[in-house]
Symmetry: none
């Protein structure tokens, strides 16, 4: 058994419980039980619940970031790059619905706000790419002349609700639909 086995078990259990029931539906004792460890064991790997929550967020963020960068078409036109990002993000979350639900919980919590601030200030990985697209797009007069802090909600806001509805089974996001949606997102911000 690798050293990190239990650590991962704990994170996975926390991910599932929190995604499912929110931070308050996920007592440490229950996380431990689901992870198959004793309560005290969690504290060997995470100083406290908050650290566990932040760490989990950080790991997901990283995974998502890596996924988006992987096949990112740096050389292609802005529009294509943008569509790629939206499409892959949707696909990632469709494949990993727990990740989406977790990020949503995190976003909608005290923790999320400071993170969001950082993002708008251009610190986070995915955002660098996105903000570049926005900046270039405005320069090249391809995009509407709006603050980046407005372009982002316009382009990404729909995804949040769409994903939510998809996970709840209210919509089914298949590839043709995804194509239409990503293009609609582009339409929102393109000049």
């Amino acid at each position: 058994m690798k050293i990190s086995d239990k650590r991962n078990d704990v994170m996975q259990a926390a991910l599932e419980l929190i995604a499912d029931q929110g931070f308050h539906g996920a007592p440490m004792a229950e996380i431990a039980e689901k992870a198959g460890v004793a309560t005290g064991t969690i504290y060997r790997y995470f100083e406290n619940k908050e650290v566990l929550i932040r760490e989990l967020h950080r790991e997901l963020e990283e995974k998502i970031s890596a996924t988006l960068r992987e096949g990112y078409p740096v050389e292609r036109p802005l529009r294509e790059r943008f569509l790629y990002l939206i499409r892959e993000l949707l696909r990632y979350f469709i494949t990993n619905p727990l990740h989406f639900r977790y990020m949503e919980q995190y976003f909608n919590s005290p923790y999320g706000i400071s993170m969001h601030r950082d993002r708008l200030l251009g610190k986070s990985g995915n955002h660098d790419i996105l903000m570049d697209i926005f900046e270039l797009g405005i320069q090249q007069q391809v995009l509407k002349e709006l603050p980046k802090a407005v372009l982002f909600p316009l382009a990404f806001g729909p995804l949040i609700i769409l994903m939510r509805d998809h996970i709840l089974g209210f919509v089914i996001l298949d590839d043709p639909l995804i194509k239409q949606i990503t293009e609609a997102c582009w339409d929102t911000i393109k000049r």
Copy 2:
């Protein structure tokens, strides 16, 4: 003093506390104190905390609905009607940020899911109007041919993030910006 005075006081106190600090930052005792009543008194008007929360949501929903219907330009073209809805919703929330924050909390909680289901099934007031627009728009080939369950997220998704950022002070939504935004939302769904 009207019979319902205390009831309103409780709801107002709950609104403020929950909007500010989330459901967990709003113990019944604190709500009572803020409302100027005894803890036990709350239970005279609301069976339990969950009922209070749901009731509060219902009232806000109703108020918003009423506001949107008030000057709704039934006779004007689809685009104008749509822009009206988005604009007024933004304005309402800018004027009543606590209402937005509360709805956000509610939406992002176990309660929120059932509510959302109801909405998609066409029970809520605002939705009737909106769904009519979508239906007509598709018929008249003004809107993209997408499921209504997709058109809604596309058109309204941005608002949630925008409002959030506005309240947090990351963007300032003034009238010119609102105009641009509402038009961008229309661009997302228009054919």
Copy 3:
């Protein structure tokens, strides 16, 4: 039942448990049980365990102070006043052994140190009297010319061990013995 009934019950229970077993032998749950209340009830009267502990100390201190002041022979010579203080203190603690054991625990804890500092700076009630005696005694050349911070341990140090041994049953402090002891204490500091 008076409002303060449960508060007193809690303090009495805490006194007994802490005097008997120290701070760590007195979990809140046990204090509650002994007091005949629910655990949560304690927190209605005391913000937390530390506050309970400090409050208890304060009350005892006050009671002792009151006792010592009661028949204090202000007009009599220094020696007599001094003997009075020592004697009454011993008697008080013999009558209230739990109080002694509690004060001992308190004294020997982080809380006790700051208290002690205050005392030496002349803030506490009993000490005012005592410090006056020391000061006058030095002026009148009745007492040894030592710092007050030294006179105090010399005169009162024995009491602590004596009381301890008395409570443990190793000595029995009856009135004749008390007389001898108080005079011995005077001998320590008198010129």
Copy 4:
């Protein structure tokens, strides 16, 4: 590396931590870390925490005893012998403040009581000497005619508070002061 190296490291670490922070501020894990060994290793040398604590006390007691016996002027008059004991004890603790603080913690704990009982029954080393002085002193009518269980507190009680205050910085015990104090202690018990 001698076999007992780790054992000593553990005891030294325990001494420092407990003297500084009390028994509760000294978790086994922290003792181990400070000693540079694994947690489990402690249990190779000490059956459990209580044994470690007792053992540590025993060693200190022994060391102190040895120190006091070293230059003990057996042949000199009682008074001189007595002054020697007090003076050397004070000096020992001034040189080894951690030892004093540890003994204090120990004395003021459930463990301390049984120890104290043993002392009065004449088991501990230092006491033999002291008790001899008392016994002789009474025989020779140099000392007050009091039970030995009373003479001891009278003579040694002051030292505890004085040391405490010295360590806390409330008094500074230099040689002249020590001389005065030891003589005052003698005055307490001399006829």
